[in-house]
Amino acid sequence: MAKFRVCPDSGFYFDKSAESLMKVNAVAGAVFLLIAGILALGVILTRWQEVHLLPADLFYQVLTAHGINALLFWVIFFEIAILYFASSTLLRSRLAAPGWAWAGFALMIIGAVMNNVAVLQGNSSVMMTSYVPMQAAPHFYLGLILFAVGALIGCFVFLGTLVIAKDDQTYQGSIPLVTFGALTACIIAIFTIASGAIILFPTFLWSIGYINHIDAEMYRIIWWAMGHSSQQINVAAHVSVWYLIIGILFNARPMSEKVSRFAFLLYIFFLQLASAHHILVDPGVSAEWKIFNTSYAMYLAVLASMIHGLTVPGAMEVAQRGKGYTKGLFEWLRKAPWGNPVFSGFFFALVIFGFIGGITGVVMGTEQINLIIHNTIYVPAHFHATVAVGTTLTFMALTYLLIPVLFRRALFLPWVAKMQPYVFAGGMTIMILFLLGAGTLGVSRRHWDMDFTGAALSFEYPGTAYMMMAVGGIGGVLGVLGGAMYLVVTVGSLLFGKKLEPSAGLLQSFGVPLAASAYNIDQPEQLQMAPKLAVEEHGSGGFEAPGTFVLALALLVCFVVYYAINWDYLASVWPMG
């Protein structure tokens, strides 16, 4: 029989096995973030041409490992923890098949370690994308396959938990919005992993000699159905976490359940089409296919993100206005808890994801504009705004919430935690903006030497490009410092943070016994529907969140202007057709 404990601070009920699994997955994620962060320093300090730290072979090796650890292992481990939280904890349900969940976790660990070993051995510096016919060692692919199978098991444990919660009637009415968002992430994850299996399994067989040829273009199209979709899991997951954070910090309720859920539904229908973003300047792909897919049908997934962009801060604004922060357009935002890293981390993630990540993503994903951006360093700048700030900083903010609630520890060095989102977001924003600039000047991504040392021919980038790479490097180092601050706080909290009652540390995850009284609830009482609120009218003319509306219009103006600038730039290059 499942045993639950109740967190006296948050009121969340934790099923014992679900709690252990959340802890180990979150900790594993943080370990891979640590690896990714150290490697990031190597990448940054090499691309900063005046420093040019690593030799070429080591640079490509480090870059390969950085990409895989950051984009796959860190985020997916953390997302599995979120899936268990959004199902078991939020619905007050026991976790389905904890044995399977542990098996999935073990497979993910084995896969992640195996893949890292393959890269470390030096014969698998093929970049995260591992485009054929460049070949990595067989255990490079096998590691990824095992990791994916483990993650797939985690997805099914999540779905199973939803079924159990429904059968046991652990909640009234419909699942909460946050759980709905997590379900979206889970469905996208299953599609993603299926695409990964379709391409990685044959590639593995090819690497051990059972298949003699894999078409290079087919590989790119199917690989990206995994590669890009896996980033869409992140979007669905971190938007869900945004709703969770505003709910916990501000008692915010969605402006409209219907609108927010509809936006998540649009993600399921359309986000996966983004595989096409990587194929826009490839040979032989028809213009119709590219236009339909790169625009997610008709930008319907972009529409979904623009909806969340309004409803997340809008819900927060309505809640804040309800508390009396009604002066002017922005008192609700000025008086927000800027010293709380859960809030500041979430809010920076939201703004940078929307204003930088979102806008650059749509611009570079425009069929023709991609001609002036493909494979330049603009591309990593874009996805550092979406994943390295949007997703990663959101997960960091959530961690500050989970340390007391899930791990029952007080934050270690809270003043470091307080500054951390500012340092991380500040550094990353500098890096992203300057790398976007360097990319516009044509600087390549995945390139060891912008001086082209040893080449038979020669080429010089303009001085501005060097300056931008250098300033970007400084920003990147600051970003790594921000990441290190996060790890100091989290690791420090788990080791030295003051224990809060009832307390079950990480060791209990591995079967070290704890006080029996902690888990003394057989079945929590049924989760009630949110209380109905008397209708209060804030703002005017039906505009409940006028400040947010102004911010949304500001986003739109930036979007339109930047979109137009890029068409203008495209119109200046050599005519082609």
Partner: protein, 181 residues
Amino acid sequence: MSSFLPPADRIWWKVPVGRQEIVWIGIALIWCLIMFFMMPYWHVYGKQNLSTEAYQTNPEKYGAAVETFVEKYQTRIDEQSGMPIVTPPAGSDIYMLGRLWQWYPILELEKDKTYRLHLGSMDWNHGFSLQPVNINLQVVPGYEMVIKITPDQAGEFTVVCNEFCGIGHHTMLGKIHVKEN
């Protein structure tokens, strides 16, 4: 708090949506449609579109085609690299191939003339990144892409490889010279 609690209304999908959201969804949808129709619009009225002409090929076949092209139109040798400089007639089919780690051969073109540029790879993926114009194309082994290009500036242009292709990736450069006519 209902973001993580079951919705307050059991039949939440019948709760009317506020005006602010409806207005924003309307604005956002219009913008999305404008962006969508910009792409077909540019195919009709814009000058920079990627052709979809491509053929399956293999290194032997493509390499032979490039060699024939070089023998036919080679005018001299580049002193710096020892690579042939090829001066094809205006409007003709021109070839460039990517291999570890060079773009071969060097092309000499005339300004404002249109050429059919064939691109192919002899080994791995390569990235054709024309600098400082900043046109970027993916060159995939097994495929021969044909693009009509019209250089509208004179001068020396460099092809940088911008798809990772191994340890010598950073030495992989090519040249296109464009002459005033």
